[in-house]
Symmetry: C2
DNA sequence: TTGTAGGCGTTATCAA
DNA sequence: TTGATAACGCCTACAA
């Protein structure tokens, strides 16, 4: 299919390519009503489709947004299998499409940065999920495009961050267990890394215990990775060696589901034998049996919001590029927590 | 950050931009050993990053692959929340990144085609999942780039298709239920549309019954949408009005999980009261309780394969552009089917 | 209000 | 083996 260019349109409409470019870029007022119509008609008849490569080259705007997702530990694949990220991507994509941007989805190879991609593609902006090494962010800043960090506690005024109050969430979850009569509460969690959401949720857990005057027992903390598999492992351990534990606070729903499976292997039932609360409210949470009690964040609308923030920054609608947005969370009571008298 | 161009590299190395372009494109033999070294060194020192927009403009190759995913029925969001698609995307992305391609992820607006995106971005190829209206494909052909169709029975020699034997899968699933002693087997399915995978699975279901000399009862077929929600609905109906049904064959794991939830609402347990088999083996299937018996296709490796096929076609390594690949499937026995004597 | 022309960073065609 | 130089399709001063 031969490419129709601005020249063709200009020719057909009997105007210059500059005029075509003007209407293409919505520079109203630069052209008269009549030429506008002529051009629009010519575009429609020729079925003109602009070439974004050329546009990007000439204008330094690509209408391309980079979206970076964490990878599995073996660095082989995206963590999209964690519905948390796919939900987020759904939200982002819908918003970007609405605003006429396209989305380049990728992971980042270990020891490789994101500078390459952003320069190669002339990205207009990027949404980064998860946390990376220090150097990653420094490099990112050099590119000088708006960036939204999702779930990162990086303290750097350069970035816009979009998160939730993870510490409060961890506290809410633990308190719900406490209020339900549990006092021997385990925490099953991914690696507690500095600057990550897990660290905060862990802090919330400890604070809730403290405020309830409950002794913090390090043996009750199971720290591994944010994955189903680790959850299973922890569940097994709890079932076998920790008969005193009556409730588990998991720092992610996937982990919670793993724990339930691990417990199940040893005949422990949720919530009858052990109660559990998750975190995130991924779409599985309400389809799993028992329906998971969890801390809900509106994942998909977070994606929408991330995209909106980014676009605003790109199009210069926000005064200050930088801001730190904290979205509300809520306790969602379902069936995985039992009240004990 | 000021952009380093080929010119800068050429200047530093004391050669022409043409020479730089040669080494960039691995045209070995076009340059002498010494200039090669000089250029490579200059690139490294300057930290040169090529501009793909310019390259795309000049060469008509973008190293960009379009990936299209079906949308939710309200056309608002991607169906990425269905882990089937996110698993696929994982596979695709990993392979593309390996081969130095980038991935543009998007849905397609109703009554809009994909011609726009592919022309705008000069896509080198595309992977399309799911089925669309007739016109969609005709339009796609005009763009004249390699295209891999995943899960589509479109009969058109133009496209490479990558699928599984859905009919056989439907049959295997039903037979497993039959062999487990069930004779009154419901089918819960999404819309049975022509050219789609569901139609084939449905055919497999019927054939298995026929071969077992079991009367096909249309009342046992629950046709809705491929979604958790519809599964719940069907599960409720079965629990309430169809006491004779002892097993359910679902045409997708998400539907199966919905059915289980619907049954559960009325106190029917799986597999004790009713057996169920799913389809796809999404990652969720083995984490769900009861672990889902299902028809397994290696989803993520399918993604890898789709990407490989596409790249081969793009880089002209395959003689015939077109082919129809059918991947193997297998019955995965887990805990959701009970043998009745 | 309209048109001309140079430039964006690469590739590719020809000569040298 | 190298190096000018003309595309590629679009944007944008600047001039008319």
């Amino acid at each position: 299919m031969k490419r129709i260019t601005m020249k063709d349109v200009a020719l057909k409409a009997g105007v210059s390519t500059a005029a075509v470019s003007y209407v293409l870029n919505g520079k109203e007022g630069k052209v008269s009503e009549t030429t506008l119509l002529k051009i629009q008609q010519a575009m429609a008849e020729l079925n003109y489709i602009p070439d974004y490569s050329a546009r990007s080259l000439a204008s330094n705007r690509s209408n391309l947004i980079g979206v970076v997702i964490p990878q599995t530990e073996d660095q082989a694949q995206l963590l999209l299998e964690n519905p948390f990220y796919s939900d987020l991507v759904c939200g982002i994509e819908s918003q970007l499409r609405l605003k006429n941007y396209h989305l380049i989805l990728s992971g980042v190879d270990k020891d490789k940065g994101y500078l390459d991609v952003s320069m190669q593609r002339n990205l207009d902006g990027a949404i980064i999920m998860g946390i990376y090494q220090e150097g990653f962010y420094e490099e990112l800043k050099k590119v000088d495009i708006p960036i939204v960090l999702v779930d990162s506690y990086i303290e750097d005024a350069y970035f816009t961050t979009l998160g939730i109050d993870d510490e409060h969430g961890g506290k809410m979850a633990t308190e719900h267990l406490l209020e339900s009569g549990h006092t021997n509460i385990a925490l099953v969690t991914g690696a507690i890394r500095k600057g990550g959401v897990i660290e905060k949720r862990y802090a919330g857990y400890r604070q809730a215990l403290r405020e309830a005057n409950i002794f913090y027992n390090p043996d009750n903390v199971f720290e591994g990775s944010v994955s189903y598999e680790y959850g299973v492992e922890a569940g097994r351990l709890i079932a076998q060696d920790h008969p005193h534990i009556t409730a588990v606070c998991a720092t992610s729903d996937m982990v919670a589901i793993g724990v339930i499976n691990g417990l199940n292997e040893f005949g422990k039932r949720v919530p009858d034998d052990i109660s559990i609360i998750g975190f995130d409210d991924i779409s599985y949470a309400k389809t799993f049996i028992p329906h998971l009690t969890t801390i809900g964040q509106h994942i998909s609308s977070r994606g929408v919001m991330a995209a909106q923030l980014l676009i605003e920054a790109i199009e210069g609608k926000r005064e200050s590029k930088q801001s730190n947005i904290v979205l509300p969370i809520e306790l969602i009571k379902r069936d995985s927590v039992k009240v004990i008298p």
